[in-house]
């Protein structure tokens, strides 16, 4: 087995390990608003695939630039998209039986 194949095998085992961690984490009961933290092992898996299978670090400078640009665009999209829901204060208003807001 060549060194390249050995590295791929180790990466595949690491990916399976991270998948098990992610799956195991989902069995733990914790607050609903914190459940998206289950994405953390997935992000590590994405980084591993990017480095070991897509060889992003071995690409020429423009290729690495586009990979980085994709990441930055994604962060901008998600960050700006979630700014409103994460900063909005919701005030609950009581309604009377006619549907009008009560003073």
């Amino acid at each position: 087995m060549s060194i390249g194949h050995r590295h791929l095998l180790v990466s595949w085992l690491a990916l399976l390990f991270l998948a098990v961690v992610e799956f195991g984490g989902s069995l733990i009961h914790f607050d609903r608003s914190l459940r998206p933290l289950l994405l953390l092992p997935a992000l590590a898996m994405v980084a591993l695939v990017g480095v070991m299978f897509m060889r992003v670090q071995r690409g020429v400078a423009p290729a690495r630039g586009f990979a980085l640009a994709g990441l930055v665009w994604l962060l901008l999209l998600l960050g700006l998209g979630m700014t409103d829901p994460l900063t909005r204060a919701v005030y609950h208003v009581r309604h009377d039986i006619t549907g009008n807001a009560a003073r």
Binding site: H5, P36, L39, G59
Partner: protein, 217 residues
Amino acid sequence: MSDEIAPHLHFQYASADHQSDTAIVGMWLFLATEVLFFGGLVLAWMFCRHWQQAGFDAGGRESVLTIGTINLVLLLTSSCVYSSGLVFIELDQPRRLMQCCIVTACLGLAFLVLKSWEWLIDIHEHLFPSMAHFKIIGPDEGGARLFWSFYFVATSLHALHMLIGIVAVCWIAIQARAGRFSAKWATPVEVVGLYWSFVDVVWIVLYPLIYLVGRGT
């Protein structure tokens, strides 16, 4: 550079390396646009779940975890096998590359078969969001319908990308069988590998969003 050394060299490139780098950079640019394409879906998931947490999680609990998990393992394995093929061609073993491509395509097909079966189960369970007799009723119904809308759109788009990837991998296998690739010329193998791994990355992100976050709440 002579035609014997680089028979695939097009006239507009200074060298084979220049042509190869251009193809790989082009694929990375395409993948960056794909990140934005799927990023919109992830944003939709975050936005809708933020306002409808209970309904979204109720919807997520109905997803078929077993098939989703098997599919994750299938895709991780397929990416590893395809990358092995790339290493083989760098060692000048085109026959091994062809074998790796066939295994990769079979794993991809197995993914699609399982996904189709899962869709049938979902529809049979009355989880299609526009169904009149939706499975989840009560206060969580609206959020659950939103979740299943996200599920069907996201998995359909991913399956479409898988289908394109399988065709590309089969094309690489045919070309490898015809002896078109060698240690000196394997750019198309690398470019298709980038696309295949990206499809894998998309599923790595979709898996927790669909199958895991809603469970355990």
